[in-house]
Symmetry: D2
Subunit: 133 residues, 4 copies
């Protein structure tokens, strides 16, 4: 499993607000793209997990906003797997425009089934993630 | 079945763009609230239909934008059932700020099942809608 | 200034995801509505502040997700002013469906000018907020 | 000026709804990306136009939905300049997944100034667009 990954995004018009800045809620969507692409680069797929009834949900976000991204900016989402246990997966994110750090965050995920019951992180995912930690 | 309905909405900050206007895509979300509230006022529920496997999808939008709504504006979504057949339901919308007309649209809906196959508009809905036309 | 405020919201269809849950990023939008309505109930207005060149930005979010809201749920956003200094304003949020706690968060705001320079929290706002703490 | 352009997009999780389909409002956002990239490929920039006080707004959408896109689908937005006059610019869009046509639309744009007054389509843009029609 790859432990770090970078994805480039172009800021969309509808993602920006009257201040001309990316609305703060949209960075959470960028983080989600970051972890999806990290998993894809490792040969995995959230779509396949979801089809198999393993739903990955966010249980905590801690996000620090340093400087705003603007419309049409080219930004980089840097995603890193910080910690994996049987109960949760923590990713760290840094969003940059060139060398400038814009936003940093830790996002904690858990796995539930269709009835909302907490599940162990799937063994295959656990091994793959832990191999690099 | 009620044939016309009005819902008031307050424009949210994240719905507006760097011009200070509501992003044009968001009016489609306001229309959806309009028809949801019209159906609720008639004793129906899209949530219940969806739970029963009757998925209502948009098959056509024709939308004319006259004047933009802005952040924190109080706007009214006026929804009217224009035409109902076994194959489709057409609603007409007018969004106003006070007396000023901002946006007009016709939205055509169809009903499909979970496999995406086109269904007849449910008989109960058909009768209820047609009673007023 | 009012120190606590409650706003009721109906979950919109476009806010929910394939799991049938409100997408986690949308709670940040609900918090924004909560503080806007708290300020409005106190006679203030973010729209007026912004027109005066005082831009209020989010500098930190710490959000814990307990249980998901679903399409068409009626939820309550409970907003409380937790701490106000010359540099920042911290609100605490609790989102509930009936008595059930769904999401909790602390959101830290700062005030900047149009060039992005940090400003003192406006004196009027400071006094008003601190009167109740 | 390039008259046709194709952009590839990956459907994001937050763009899909409880049916598992892209919410119909999001295709309008995909169209906006299509025309932005067409203009960029021609050496232009909406960001630069907006900085110069030329605001491009949508005045009409006519959109036909054939088949839904789903989470994680790779889709292609095909954008074509259909007609340009001093008053408006019409683009045609076709969104496909592989060879399958999902959505078709005509979107009409106009240019306004910061006070909302209708402007002539800028001469440079007019000439560039018409060169290919």
């Amino acid at each position: 499993m790859i432990q770090e990954h970078q994805t480039q995004l172009r800021v969309r018009y509808d993602e920006t607000d009257p201040m001309g800045f990316v609305h703060h809620s949209n960075y959470l969507r960028y983080f989600e793209i970051g972890r999806t692409e990290l998993l894809r680069a490792s040969g995995g797929s959230y779509r396949a997990m979801e089809a198999a009834g393993q739903l990955v949900v966010v249980v905590r976000i801690d996000c620090r906003y340093r400087s705003p991204a603007k419309y049409d900016d080219l930004i980089t989402v840097h995603t890193r797997i910080a910690r994996v246990t049987a109960a949760k997966i923590i990713h760290e994110y840094k969003i940059r425009r060139g060398d400038e750090l814009l936003v940093e965050a830790d996002v904690t995920l858990a796995v539930i089934d269709r009835e909302g019951r907490l599940q162990r992180v799937p063994e295959s995912l656990l091994e793959a993630y832990q191999a690099n930690l």
